[in-house]
Structure formats: C-alpha cells, structure tokens
Subunit: 243 residues, 2 copies
DNA sequence: CGGACTATTGATTTGCGTCAAAGATTGTGG
DNA sequence: CCACAATCTTTGACGCAAATCAATAGTCCG
C-alpha cells in the first residue's frame, strides 16, 4: 500500500480545485491518501453489481463506464469517467451499488478504502464539501444525459456527447478540437441509446456536414460552433460553482 | 419567518432517518430551521433556469418536477419530488441551476435559506452526511431514469415509473396498490420521453393486460408482481444504505 | 495467416410520432 | 345552476426515425 504523493492523486486534487477551495493542508491530506494501484485490461468489469463496495476507485488513466442492463441484455452506459475522476466516490457514503463499472480501454485506477475517504471528510469539512460538490457535478451530467437520450435525435445526441467530452477532456477550460476518445461505435450506441448501425450512419452525417469526424477512437472537431448548435450544448452543467 | 417546529419539516427528517442516523439534537436542529411557507398554484414555475438560487425548497405537499427543454421546446422532466423531498438541496452546495422546477399540482413548499442549510451542515457533521446521502439517492434515481428512457419501450417505461412512485409514496416500506399520482398523460410523456398520444395507447395496453390502471391522477395496481416484471423494477436504488 | 472484433452499407420492418378530430372532464363566470 | 371555455383523454390514419437483418470489408493481434 503506497502512501507517497502520487501524480494520479494530484489530478484528482486538480479536479476538486476546479470547483472547490482547498487549503494547502487539505490538499496534502488528499495527496497522502493510502491507495492500491490496479492495472486493468480493456472491457474488464469491476465494482460489481449488487455487491457492497469497500473502496472508492480513482481513475489515473483510461476510460471507465458505469452501466446497467435491461432484461434483454442491452447495455446502457449511464456515466463516463476520465483521467482525474472518481467514478464511485458516492459509494463511500452509500455503498449500495448502482450499476457496474467497466473499463473501455486499458486503465490504471487507484483504490482507496472507504474508511480513508470518510476519515478525510470527517476531519476536514472543506474536503467533505468538495466531495459532496463533486458528486453533484456527476448528478448534473446524469440529468443532462436524460435530456440527451430522451429528447434529442441520433445526430444531436452524438454531437452533444462529443461536445461534453471535448469540454471535459479540456479540464474545464474551453474545449479541445482534437482529442482521443477511445470507444467503439457499439459503445457510442450504449452511451446514446442507439444501435451501432445507426451510430455509424449518424457519424457519417456529422462527417459529411463537416461538423466532426470520429475515427479510430479520436474526435476531430471541424466546426465547434456548428457542433454546439447541433448538440444543443451548454457547458454550464459541467462547471462547479463553489469557488 | 416562522421558526417553530413544523409538521412539514418533520416529514423531511423522517425521510433522512430512512437512510441516515441522526441524534435527537440533530433532528431538533433541522426541525427548528427558519423557513418561509409558499403556496403555489399548479403549473407554476419557480427556481428559475440559469438563476442562482439563494434558498432550498422543501416539499410540504404537492408534486414538484424538475425539467429541461430542448431547442424545439419539448419538455423533459428529469426528476419528480413528493411530500418530504427537498428537490434542490444540492443548490446549497452548487447554486448553479440545473433545469427549472415547476409544480404539477397546487403545492406548499418551505423555503430555507442556503446559509441556514450550510450552517447546519457545518455544525453537525452527521447532518452534512445525511444531506450528502440524500443527494446521492436522487442521483441513483437519475441513473435509473437514463436506463428507463434509453433502453425500455413505452409500456415498460410507464410500468417502471408506476413501480417507482408506488414505492416512493409508500415511504420506503413496500409499495402501495392504490395511490394518487396527480399528473396528466401529457406529463407522463414528459417524464418518459413519449408523446401523450403514445402514453395513452400504452396505458390502455397496461389496463387491458390487467397490470395497472391510471385514471384521474390515481394509480391502481392490479398485479404488482406482473407490473414489476413489465417495468424491470428493482427497488434497491431507492433505498438508503447508511443506517 | 486466420480468427475476432469493428466498421460500413443496403433492404426491410416497426415502434413511436404527427396530424386530426371527436368526446369527456373540469373549471369559471354570469 | 347552467353555459361555455379550456383542458384532458381517446381513437384513427399515416409518416418517419431508428431498429433489425444481413452481408461485405477492414483492422488488429496472436
């Protein structure tokens, strides 16, 4: 169990600092959390459904998806977590699982015991507040995804998703016009509640309209303004508000 | 500004106690929160989009919906809140609005200033934890709704919704076979991402199958077991986990 | 070099939306 | 208490976006 300051934990602190104020002492307390580093293959499920977790996991590298299944076995991805996210911070407070977690690409995660997370939250009210706020940001994304899946057509859903990931990979400052987003068209379908066939057709539309190109797990934005319009994207829901 | 113990606040404490442990002192602290009671007509928007809130609102009576719009003006309801819920507890920690709030029927709400909520959370760590957990329960429902809208057909979406509301109106203990759920078919469509016409047809199907009848804002469950199966309902996501 | 994904495209089907119109219910003011 | 408006429910006919089915290429990797 490593306890030295770690670059992975630093990126989580960076994430928290984007929306919350933390003193040097509080930052240091997070950075010295004891963790266990796990290296996972692609498409490896962990944080099993129905099982009570005893750890939070923290994404040092890779792309993590939370998912559920309907009884026909169709998968629906309900959340994506990138470098610097803590996909199941909530499990420290509410251990009951809410869907499984899986890697979409090879990933490294840091496991931190619930007890350690709770100890921090208990000892440092500002950290508790930052954790709480972090969970609320995740919830805001969930709300946005309901809008996306419920009230937008295929083209708009994909446009919106690319906008969101562009903004998130940019780390809360503007957006990226060219970024790796290592998912298959099947997985894009699992995210947007479409079939891979229709994802393929809609991607072609977006490409031909010269809004965005998705190829080999990479997104290349041709016209950010048009893409934002097509996806009805407003980045407000991604930004914190407590600093 | 009333400060005496109030029956409305009591039902919120009851809700918290369903998932979190609070001492007598902590309960009393919540019950003496200063509030302002507002009586609202049906279909009255409040907690305006884009505006930073300064209060949390607490549902004493009625049915409150959180919603967003797409650019065609179609409304999507992303959350429902009943008697005892606090629809925007999160706004104390993250004031940025995430969609508007509206009443679906005449309602009475209690407004509590953010400062008061934060003071409680700061002074009583157990209350902060309970508030945090309460937000996580709301988030679990959001995740479930993504599944519902994304991966289930019209009949299953409605069945699932009726199951959820049956369980929630039962206050975390079993379910109700007969309960008021005062929404129109149009609003059922806004919740399930369907048109009111298709809601109507699907309700007929459910009625003819003798699973559930929806009439005049009342749900009458004919076969709970069948309804649960049709809606792929598992109440686990509604229950707290921290007691 | 062969097996397993992944992407692409065409043909066809279908669940749900759209449009339209007729009842039923509720509310309101005279 | 009735008349009339407004809203809500129900049903039919038709259209369309996305699903399904199916087949051919790429592409990656051992």
């Amino acid at each position: 169990m490593a306890t030295s300051i770690n670059a992975g934990l630093q990126s989580f602190v960076d994430r928290l600092l984007r929306h919350s104020r933390l003193s040097e002492v509080e930052q240091a307390a997070i950075l010295t959390l004891p963790f266990r580093k796990l290296t996972l293959r692609a498409n490896q499920d962990f944080g099993r459904i129905g099982e009570r977790a005893k750890h939070c996991c923290f994404v040092e590298d890779g792309l993590i998806a939370r998912f559920g299944h309907n009884c026909d076995g169709e998968r629906q991805i309900t959340a994506l977590h990138i470098h610097g996210d803590m996909p199941d911070l909530h499990s420290a407070i509410r251990p009951a699982g809410i869907g499984g977690l899986t890697t979409l690409v090879p990933a490294t995660i840091l496991q931190v015991a619930h007890a350690e997370v709770l100890r921090l939250a208990f000892n440092y009210p500002a950290i508790a507040e930052a954790f709480w706020r972090d969970c609320l940001l995740d919830a805001a994304v969930l709300m946005d995804w309901i809008m996306n899946v419920g009230r937008r057509n295929a083209r708009a859903r994909l446009a919106h998703l690319f906008c969101e990931m562009s903004a998130r990979y940019a780390g809360g400052q503007g957006h990226l016009d060219n970024f790796r987003f290592p998912v298959t068209q099947q997985q894009l379908g699992d995210i947007t509640a479409l079939t891979s066939v229709h994802v393929n057709r809609s991607l072609r539309t977006l490409r031909e309209e010269e809004l965005v190109t998705f190829q080999n797990g990479r997104v290349i934005v041709s016209s950010w303004a048009e893409l934002v319009r097509a996806g009805e994207f407003d980045a407000a829901y991604l930004t914190g508000d407590g600093v």
